[in-house]
């Protein structure tokens, strides 16, 4: 049985977005090369954004954010709580865009830590383009998944 092209594209896009966030979350949790937690490295990268002078909120975000990325990525991949996952990932993409734009505007010479440890300073235009592309992908998926018209099947399916 032939799969409609738009459904195939949506599936590819969903898997790609989920894979990006699963990878980004995983490498912020665990440094696979060093075989150790990557949280401290990520906390250092977050600190370099100079969004707050306090260490505690940085540590909390450094511990929690990667697991949110991982959980939302897995939810999207497995199509469980899909709308919630897309909404969360959309918010995260906007936050990343904001943080990146702010660091670029302030002329910071830092590693963004977006995908774990990076040896070079961040290429801001590249990372902002990546985040923007990710956001567009998420928005597209959300638009495709949101119920329209008179038969919001996703609502009835989710509540059954």
């Amino acid at each position: 049985m032939a799969i409609p092209l738009n459904r195939l594209c949506a599936a590819i896009l969903r898997i790609a977005v989920a894979a990006v966030f699963i990878y980004a979350g995983a490498v912020k949790i665990w440094n696979f090369k060093a075989g150790d937690w990557a949280t401290q490295q990520f906390a250092g990268d977050l600190q370099n954004f100079q969004l707050t002078a306090y260490w505690t909120p940085i540590i909390v975000v450094a511990i929690y954010l990667p697991w949110v990325e991982l959980a939302a990525g897995c939810a999207l991949l497995l199509r469980r709580c899909e709308l919630g996952a897309l909404a969360l990932l959309g918010v995260l993409a906007i936050l990343f865009l904001g943080a990146m734009g702010s660091a670029w505007a302030r002329g910071l010479d830092i590693s963004c830590g977006c995908f774990g440890k990076e040896n070079n300073a961040t290429n801001f235009p590249l990372h902002i383009s990546e985040d923007a592309a990710l956001f567009v992908g998420i928005a597209l998926l959300l638009w495709m998944r949101l119920p329209r018209g008179k038969s919001p099947d996703i609502l009835t399916r989710s509540q059954s």
Partner: protein, 146 residues
Amino acid sequence: MPGSSRAKCVRLVIRQACAILAIALVPAAVSGGVQLKWRHEEPLAADEIRPAVARALGAEALFVDARTGQRYAQGHIAGALLLNNESWDDLVPKFLDAWDPDKKVVVYCDGGGCDAAEEIAGRMRRELQLHDVYVLKGGWPAWQSR
């Protein structure tokens, strides 16, 4: 989409998002707990110095800011001199005037992935034949927050 369906949909999205946040909280709490024995201090490279140690040097340290002039103007360690790759030739004379063989030179940049401090420290050793040159661990953010 009718109003009631839209409200249902919003509620569904919020409920699902909260469920994911709650699920993520469990492993985050466990991994955070495991890491409470946190090695707060990363090992130092041979030429690095921790902010607390640099602070304790007091007048025995000559701080050098390796960031851009704009970043330097926004804030820097008290008494630090600006010396970066962009304006090396213009700024070196001022640095040499302030340099004292009895002082340790501590170079810093924006911390983390920035290479400017390492590069300036390297140039000082190679081109100015200075030996007592250190890079501030964590750079300017670490100096501010600890």
